[in-house]
């Protein structure tokens, strides 16, 4: 079971990465959330019966964890100079400018909107988004239009 789990998560870890980038600002918080999501996936794996796609299952758990796990407000420290490369955590990779812009824009949305837009950008159809989130298909359409408008205004 462990081998299957690791293979699945390794292949689809981009999902976890994207959810962490959406729901946490700092790299430290993103790494914490990444670990937490992997732990929750591991706990949920024995019950995963493959009735849904692996990616759908992972999105559900990852989004749920990101929203439900409580995070105490930390004091933000601002580093003016860049940290020498050899001191970077091995998890840190410098994202592209476009990627940063995209996630900064997504982080201005509320938590529910982030979940919906993530699934939309992942090309899930409206009925699947409705099933995963628990809102109606019609309302998914309404929300996505509004979110797209918001993002267009931010990214102009």
């Amino acid at each position: 079971m462990e081998k299957d789990f690791l293979k699945i998560v390794e292949l689809n870890q981009g999902i976890i990465y994207k959810v962490c980038k959406m729901y946490r600002d700092s790299r430290e918080d993103q790494e914490d959330l990444f670990q937490e999501i992997v732990l929750q996936l591991w706990k949920a794996f024995p019950k995963f019966r493959k009735e849904s796609k692996v990616s759908t299952w992972m999105y559900r758990i990852a989004l749920n964890t990101a929203i439900a796990i409580y995070r105490k407000t930390k004091i933000e420290l601002e580093f003016k100079e860049s940290i020498p490369k050899e001191y970077h955590s091995k998890y840190i990779e410098t994202p592209s400018e476009n990627e940063e812009r995209l996630f900064e824009a997504i982080r201005t949305l509320n938590k529910a909107e982030r979940a919906i837009i993530a699934l939309y950008l992942e090309d899930y159809p409206y009925n699947e988004i409705a099933k995963i989130t628990g809102i109606t298909e019609n309302y998914v359409g309404v929300k996505i239009s509004r979110i797209k408008e918001k993002l267009k205004n931010i990214l102009k």
Binding site: V9, Q13, K21, L39, E99, Y139
Partner: protein, 184 residues
């Protein structure tokens, strides 16, 4: 079309950064500094309280105190420990099954129940401690002031704790409203 561009950026994000060894480490609580820290705190707290229960009778003259004070202390201390352990296991499992909304509703309900239990057992435990140590005291005015101070401190601690819980519950509630809010 701008959104197609966003979609293609989205899909290129976060490809294959961690290997299976790193992922395997993340499945063990001992490799999660925050969770490990909370678990150690819970274990230390529990050990200290059990040691207190074991030595209080001789150490703090339990024989000279009324029976009700001794019983109250033992019962509330035991409840305090049990509820904290239950709370730890329950709160470490926020995924309730079903869709996102259903899971969050379930977790919100769990948070509400646990917060009431934890706050109540904390209040009872604090009350039992104060009652035990003051049960065979001959009160002077000065001692009454100390007693009032202890009671106020206990109430303040419970109040601050309840605010933390409320914050957490309100956070989940806010997200549930965001899922349902049509007017925005």
């Amino acid at each position: 079309m701008e959104f197609d561009y966003l979609k293609s950026n989205w899909k290129k994000t976060g490809q294959g950064k961690k290997n299976q060894t790193e992922l395997l480490m993340m499945t063990k609580i001992k490799n999660h500094p925050n969770i490990k820290r909370m678990r150690i705190k819970l274990i230390i707290e529990t050990i200290l309280i059990i040691v207190f229960l074991a030595v209080y009778y001789d150490g703090f003259d339990g024989a000279t105190k009324p029976l009700w004070a001794n019983l109250l202390l033992i019962v509330t201390t035991t409840l305090y420990i049990i509820v904290r352990f239950i709370g730890w296991f329950v709160l470490r499992n926020p995924i309730k099954g079903g869709n996102l909304k259903k899971s969050l509703i379930g977790f919100q309900y769990t948070l509400k129940r646990m917060s009431i239990l934890i706050l109540l057992t904390s209040l009872l435990f604090g009350t039992a401690i104060i009652s035990f140590f003051t049960s065979s005291i001959e009160f002077t005015q000065g001692k009454y002031f100390v007693l009032v101070g202890m009671i106020i401190s206990l109430i303040l601690l419970i109040y601050l704790s309840s605010r933390n819980w409320l914050k957490r519950i309100e956070g989940i509630k806010k997200t549930l409203i965001e899922f349902d809010d049509i007017t925005d």
